[in-house]
Symmetry: C2
Subunit: 232 residues, 2 copies
């Protein structure tokens, strides 16, 4: 692989491959292999198969341990929010993997380098290669750097369903009224901001703002949940 | 958990739980928890979430390494044949997990103990508990005993698609004729046996017998493949 790639991986992720051929395999698309028939190259698909399973496992264990109260259905939804084509493609871009892929000329012209499906594949194949070369601990370190901080940044908040969680929490011991009230909406038509309050038994426990009412309600519910949890 | 269960797990799988509460959790259905509200019990669903991911990972790595020539699509199909409700339910039965589950009375009467979906869940939750208690190596040892031998016994052969593999192998360097010929069919209407030969460039390379033509063709292709591989 390009020594610039090696340098970037070492600097950004402290990853130095012992077996460079695994990295080559992970970053090479079939179209490139077909254009270089005499170089005995491998393309990423097999190692992506492995990386996909490794990533599912690592993320599953992380959220299982981090959220010891979250029931199975919610764990499954959260994992689905973290482990999918769109989010893996965005991680791949943030890691600059789009610059590292080896593509055939046709695929290059078709701008495959920016295609979500390919970027997701490459993110998984990279993880597969790291696992093969350096084991599960290095994959976990990589996920701690690239994926888990996004949980705290709220990247997957929409999937958390704070409204359901709030409802379950306050109605545990019997019926309690929960109302969401639109307090305000502002801004131009194409960039509208909604401000919503959540009232539990007519007491305002949280306010949230977002570009849709649904998201504003989720954010209000999150604020209310955080407040209730602090009191417990 | 029942000491008979502990004894059976130790004898059959050399598994002795350090933290018995993990085993209890893995083998307890929600209906049982609901009937014993004061015992502060947990049911298996969360640990099943983890066990599912652990099992996918362990099986993926195993077939990835065992079949270094199998392309991604075939690895995916093989994994799907190994990791699914029907096969996990059968593994659970072979391990006698159906006898170990703690069920509520209604579920017991509804014969939930023999339901594939529950048995599959329990197989996964058991794996999750072994992983939590003793780590990935013990899970691999368990899979080596319970799952992988079934590969050699041909349990997943239908999913291997030997016909496609044979075609890919012999047509690698250009077109070659492959014909399947019904040699014989025998037995009563409801227990018919078909005997099929595969001819590659008009030379018979394998014969297979099964209760359907399709399976007999697959078996013939497998015999031909084994023969060709021995010559390579």
């Amino acid at each position: 692989m390009d020594s610039k790639v090696d340098k970037a991986l070492a600097e950004n992720f402290n990853i130095v491959f012992k077996d460079e051929s695994l990295l080559d395999e992970a970053l090479t698309q079939a179209s490139y292999v077909n254009e270089h028939p005499n170089q005995n190259l491998k393309f990423y698909e097999r190692i992506e198969f492995l990386g996909d399973a490794v990533m599912q496992f690592v993320v599953s264990e992380y959220i299982f341990k981090r959220y010891p109260q979250l029931p199975q259905g919610r764990l499954t939804r959260l994992r689905a929010a973290m482990v999918n084509e769109e989010s893996f493609a965005s991680f791949a871009r943030e890691c600059h993997f789009n610059d590292y892929i080896r593509l055939g000329k046709g695929e290059e012209l078709a701008n495959a380098r920016e295609r979500d499906s390919l970027l997701c594949d490459i993110f998984e194949s990279f993880v597969g290669a790291v696992y093969m070369d350096q084991g599960i601990k290095k994959v976990i370190t990589f996920a701690e750097q690239v994926i888990y901080p996004k949980l705290d940044e709220g990247r997957f908040d929409d999937y958390f369903d704070h409204k359901t969680e709030l409802q379950e929490m306050v109605q545990k011991n019997g019926p309690v009224s929960i109302d969401y009230q639109l307090l305000d909406e502002n801004g131009p038509e194409n960039d509208r901001v909604f401000k919503v309050a959540v009232l539990v038994n007519k007491v305002e426990l949280g306010v949230g703002e977002a570009h849709s009412k649904k998201h504003a309600e989720q954010r209000a519910a999150k604020v209310a949940l955080d407040q209730l949890k602090r009191k417990m």
